[in-house]
């Protein structure tokens, strides 16, 4: 338990010491998206009845930022430790796979949530209503960060080089997040794309998160929660299996 707490604290400090890059920068990026997309698209669309496009955009952007940062936190920390070699200091002590996983996961969730809170704070004045259902908001924020944090652990264990990690990010994480209804409601999509979107777990994160704010969304929050929680459990089991087997870390 002490091992877990220490590693968790270390992982928190690791991003907090460079919060300018790890928190402030993604918040600024989200703000720019919000400014540009709401300016370009606000006259065209009303996503849900009674919800302006600018308001609609905020939860999507927030979830996207949280997801990307949760992934970045665990994956970049692991790959850096592997490449510099200081991961030995984590492999020599008697840390269990669960402690290792839990510490990286939780630190990723914290980074994601801190970034998410920052994005909400700077974009709220675009007309975000108070959450209709704050519990759903929190649940989807935590689960969404959890899924991507876990994916970051898996990618960090798997990748041997920074460019492999970049490929994972560019070819898997980015498409999943961008094609998930961040910028639009998928109810307006042609049937094929709608069906494809329904296969994307990130879509359910964003949709459920939005439901928390507006009390309406494309699918039921229960279905969304089930899909996201299911993805989280599956990926966690995978990550734990990799850690227990020593894949790439203890050759």
């Amino acid at each position: 338990m002490q091992g877990f707490l220490t590693l968790f604290k270390k992982e928190i400090l690791r991003f907090w010491k460079v919060a300018f890059q790890t928190v402030a920068a993604p918040v600024l990026t989200a703000l720019l998206y919000q400014l540009i997309f709401s300016h370009v698209l606000s006259r065209h669309v009303e996503a849900y009845p009674g919800v302006s496009y600018t308001a609609f955009l905020i939860p999507g952007l927030t979830m996207m930022s949280m997801a990307q940062n949760a992934f970045a936190n665990s994956s970049s920390s692991l790959i850096q430790s592997k490449i510099t070699g200081n991961i030995v200091f984590l492999l020599l002590p008697p840390l269990s796979a669960l402690e290792f996983f839990g510490a990286y996961l939780l630190a990723s969730v914290v980074r994601g949530m801190v970034v998410g809170a920052g994005v909400l704070l700077v974009t709220a004045w675009f007309g975000l209503p108070l959450p209709a259902n704050p519990l759903w908001v929190l649940l989807f924020a935590a689960l969404g960060c959890g899924v991507l944090g876990t994916l970051g652990i898996i990618a960090g264990i798997w990748a041997d080089k920074f460019d492999q990690l970049a490929a994972f990010q560019n070819f898997i994480i980015m498409p999943l997040t961008f094609l998930s209804g961040v910028f639009y409601s998928i109810s307006g999509l042609p049937p094929l794309w709608k069906a494809v979107s329904h296969l994307n777990p990130v879509f359910y994160m964003i949709d459920g998160f939005r439901y928390g704010f507006f009390g309406q969304a494309d699918v039921s929050p229960w279905l969304a929660a089930a899909v996201v929680a299911g993805s989280f459990l599956l990926l966690s089991a995978w990550a734990l299996h990799l850690l227990r087997s020593g894949y790439k870390l203890r050759q």
């Binding site: 270390k10 030995v88 200091f89 008697p94």
Partner: protein, 301 residues
């Protein structure tokens, strides 16, 4: 729990390379043990397997009686490893590094011991310096401290004095000696053979993944200097020679063990005095393994 370290038939392959080939030996409690061998012999690979950083393909390693693979938690608590590669986490200061390392071993309030380690390793004024801002030798000292935060009974140092200046090397060895005197079992690898000779009581030598020698230091040293010569003589070997050079006969030849090749002169003189003619003489070639042993002997001078 009769040995501090027990290694039984450990083998490990990297692709087609047999990095460890059926290695077996034990290290007793409180022993000061050296693991020597040329680059690529497999020393680091063996140490990685001891620390659970890699898994052997076969065989078994126990640290203080705990299996390094099936009883990892207990085994790792008993073991402190100083890795060969100079590695550090650039995000943190020296003290943070050591406090975190203590925490990974489940230790909460370790400040007194951390301070003592910093003092012993000559780093007290660097406690709050970022790891990045340390010199190479200082980083290595921090690595030694990291291996000791949990006061492990078994300490393995993989070339701890590489890139370290003379003064520190001496103070480092004094500290390690102190730990050994306090009952810690020490295993070290080094390319400075005089270090191994000065400190260690037993020496294992590896080459190409195999254990080629394992002996008490004194025996190994005596062994390395001695040579065998084989003689074909016209008459019987004088009794005085037979007694002083542990002579034995094979295939009608007398085999003599010389403690030093310079003694050949004496042997020939005595034979001449006894009017025994030498028909053939050959000095047994030292093989590569013995060359390394010789090298170690030479390092003393």
């Amino acid at each position: 729990m009769s040995h501090a370290i027990s290694i039984e038939s450990v083998s490990k392959r990297f692709g087609t390379l047999q990095a460890l080939d059926d290695i077996s030996f034990t290290v007793a409690h409180g022993e000061f043990f050296a693991l020597l061998g040329p680059n690529g012999a497999g020393k680091t690979t063996l140490i990685s397997a001891m620390g659970g950083l890699s898994r052997p393909d076969s065989g078994r390693i126990r640290i203080m009686g705990h299996d390094a693979v099936s009883d990892t938690r207990a085994a790792r608590m008993q073991l402190g490893v100083v890795p060969q590669e100079l590695v550090f986490d650039p995000f943190f200061t020296v003290r943070e590094t050591l406090v975190f390392q203590s925490g990974y071993f489940g230790i909460r309030h370790n400040d007194a011991w951390v301070d003592e380690l910093l003092f012993k390793l000559g780093l007290p004024d660097k406690a709050n310096t970022n790891m990045r801002a340390l010199s190479g030798g200082m980083k290595r000292r921090v690595m030694v401290a990291q291996a000791l935060v949990h006061r492990p009974p078994v300490i393995v140092l993989d070339e701890p004095t590489a890139g370290v200046d003379v003064e520190l090397r001496q103070s480092l060895w004094a500290f390690v000696q102190e730990l050994n005197d306090a009952g810690h079992t020490i295993v070290l690898t080094t390319h400075y053979l005089e270090e191994a000779e000065a400190l260690c009581s037993r020496i294992a030598m590896m080459k190409k993944g195999r254990l080629i020698a394992l002996e008490a230091k004194d025996k190994l040293l005596a062994h390395s200097a001695s040579r065998e010569i084989s003689l074909k003589l016209s008459g019987p070997l004088p009794a005085t020679l037979a007694a002083s050079y542990q002579a034995r006969e094979t295939d009608g030849r007398q085999i003599l063990v010389l403690p030093d090749i310079a003694r050949l002169e004496d042997v020939l003189r005595e034979l001449r005095l006894a009017a025994v003619e030498v028909r053939e003489l050959s000095v047994h070639e030292t093989d590569l393994e013995q060359v390394f042993v010789e090298l170690m002997h030479g390092g003393k001078k």
